[in-house]
Assembly symmetry: C2
Homo-oligomer: 427 residues x 2
């Protein structure tokens, strides 16, 4: 088939009529499908059901250090849970604080603390006229939501297959001491599924920020969330690289078991230098007496006694992979020759990023919605929800069943065609 760009106006009009017909048929189906959020499916959640059997009224609830996990105490998490988190991102337990069920909450609290109390004795950010964060784009909407909420100015830097543009970042942080941080999803990035190259990670570790309280917010959300057993990305250990580069305190790393066990009931960790941990624990000790240690114990024992973490992640992969392949195959079969869209084929993570022709993303998402398929709002992967080129759409294939994914993706393809045709015909 000819690409749309090669078609004459007449051919485009003909194609438009044909596609409109397809679109109307979808509308008649009264669909109600959702490809908007990176939620695990119930089949994935079932993989961890055994966790509910780990602790019973007969169980020993004393941890290996002698703490009764039912009672108050142990501010930074029981050692067993620290070990689990440490194993996920390959660090020492001395670098781990275990929090509650949400790494997003840790990130929020980290920014909030910096606003009110600064970082290691620096001026509280709320006392400064301007605070800026670097935001590689496209990125994770909830990251941008936090910085927007605190009135932090967001500087966009483009992503590539090897990570964000380090030339721009090095320059920015060196010359502007109001830049206090950067959001990163270094592995299987949200939404593109890219993993930072070794060079990128090393350059991060060697940043020379003008602000002493600059921190890299390293959201390693998909550290072990591979889609394949044989093709897996790996990234350098940022804590180690920062240490080598003599910037041991420059990074906060975050991770959680939300997409490993239960999304609403996992455990989350902050991984950072011992200096940062000392700084943070001063505030934590005011905020709480401790997080839920029963859930920490439950997680630790589940992965010690009932299942191997690596194996467990392969089971997730075997549920997710066919879903990704379903979407990718339809895109490939139906769009690859038309030159009206590009997309990535990730090896892990939760998303496929689709780039339409400039100016078409909002229209595509709105067409899909009208026909009963909810996509992540166009623009959501950019600060303030504004995609300057209006082209990036995040596809989240994890939640729907394959049968539904097929229909939803078929419809999505029709919407892409329709919006592209509308645009080409306007020219």
């Amino acid at each position: 088939m000819k690409s749309y760009q090669e078609m004459s106006r007449e051919e485009l009009l003909e194609e438009h009529e044909r596609v409109i017909g397809q679109y109307e048929k979808f509308k008649e189906m009264g669909l109600k499908l959702d490809m908007s959020r990176g939620k695990p499916s119930s089949e994935q959640l079932d993989l961890s059901l055994g966790m509910l059997d780990v602790l019973t009224s007969e169980s020993n609830v004393i941890n290996q250090d002698g703490f009764d996990c039912r009672n108050y105490g142990v501010l930074d998490g029981i050692i067993e849970a620290k070990k689990l988190i440490a194993s996920m991102v390959d660090v020492s337990v001395d670098n781990v604080i275990v929090y509650g069920n949400s790494s997003l909450n840790i990130m929020y609290d980290t920014i909030s603390r910096s606003m009110t109390h600064g970082v290691m004795g620096s001026t509280p950010w709320c006392k400064l006229d301007t605070v800026k964060f670097i935001c590689p784009v496209p990125g994770y909407d909830r990251h941008f939501g936090i910085t927007e909420h605190f009135g932090i100015e967001m500087i966009q830097v483009p992503m590539s297959q090897t990570g964000p543009d380090m030339d721009i970042i090095e320059n920015l942080v060196k010359n502007d001491d109001s830049i206090k941080g950067i959001w990163c999803v270094p592995k299987y990035s949200n939404p593109q599924g890219y993993s930072y190259s070794d060079e990128t990670v090393v350059r991060f570790a060697h940043l020379e920020p003008a602000a002493k309280d600059f921190r890299i917010f390293w959201d390693n959300a998909y550290a072990i969330h591979h889609l394949y057993e044989d093709k897996q990305d790996s990234i350098l250990n940022i804590l180690e690289e920062c240490k080598k580069a003599n910037h041991p305190d420059m990074v906060y790393e975050f991770c959680s078991t939300s997409k490993i066990t239960f999304s609403g009931g996992g455990i989350a960790g902050l991984i950072t230098s011992e200096n940062n941990i000392t700084d943070i624990k001063k505030q934590m000790g005011i905020q709480t007496i401790g997080y839920n240690k029963i859930n920490q114990l439950c997680h630790a024992r589940f992965f010690k006694e009932q299942c191997d973490l690596k194996n467990h992640m392969l089971k997730h992969a075997s549920i997710l992979r066919p879903k990704f392949e379903t979407v990718l195959n339809i895109l490939e079969n139906q769009l690859s020759n038309l030159h009206i869209g590009d997309w990535n084929c990730p090896r892990g993570g939760y998303f496929i990023a689709f780039d339409s022709l400039n100016g078409c993303a909002k229209r595509i998402v709105s067409l899909a919605k009208e026909a009963g398929v909810v996509m992540t709002p166009a623009g959501a992967t950019f600060p303030y929800g504004i995609d300057p080129q209006d082209k990036t759409i995040r596809i989240a294939p994890s939640l729907p069943k394959i049968k539904d994914l097929e229909i939803a993706t078929e419809l999505f393809v029709v919407c892409v065609k329709l919006a592209s045709l509308e645009q080409l015909l306007q020219k």
Copy 2:
């Protein structure tokens, strides 16, 4: 026996020698006891062990509204958990947000949000030159810790058996718009075990603060934590009273199941007006996708299917009551005639407050520590840890076994006598 005040110097010296002898004997015992924190005993924690059997891999984990409690979502808590919290403080579920495991954490987050974002659109407190809180004293050290952490100036107002001095409070809030809040433990107060009278609660509801963003921080930590079945305090419902007084938004109420189920693994709630809830949820939705719903479901089902909440609290009472009585009996038998201390006999809560002669509290606590019994640091129940009269000591009888409590209280009495004698002899 004569009171110490009635004794001649010779008699005091004789008594001093006798008491020193008793103290030295205690020191030789090499004690290692702790009456410092309001932690439940393992016997109490055992009462909720059945909670670990509520959910198994065979259980239905879908809540009554159809949400899979394992997955993301439901920002403000599942309805079943809202009902449980609502039943504890007798409010409508529409007034409840369920958080994670710690009401302290909710209070911290509430102040933190007010610092960075104000209250319902008011100027963020961090942008103001001065922010003040009223602190009834003696009070809860962790409350004061939060306000101190945020640099909030603390104004002390004395407590009485009917609550804090309302004349002073009414005047303060009316005339100073930098006063943004007040810490209250309205029932079985920490540390005195006093419950606010109806008049006090009504006067709270009728406060006319100069600051529109003034809020009453109503920490109803011991709402159902009675020591007796027949003698129970009850307080008016502050939400209702505020509504009647046309100040529906003036109060944030807090509670948790920390001293009902597992102290480290309970659920906590914020109870407030729907306007406040709308305001708060805007920020919550940035901070997290939701709290642990598995634990919420577990709590709700435990109290629906396995045990009655009221009955459950009576079981706690039957474990705690003999401990309180052990301490109170020893104080009564050994100190009541000496006029060197006063204490309360609470009907609920977790503490006994002991008032020594002025200037003796630190010495008493230090003597006890030297002999192996840890008490809450003297001064802890006052802002900045400074008790101006150095007289209030918080006794926490919940954790130790009765046998140990007996020894610890016997030693405590000796320390009280010794410190008092030292002071009287110096005169």
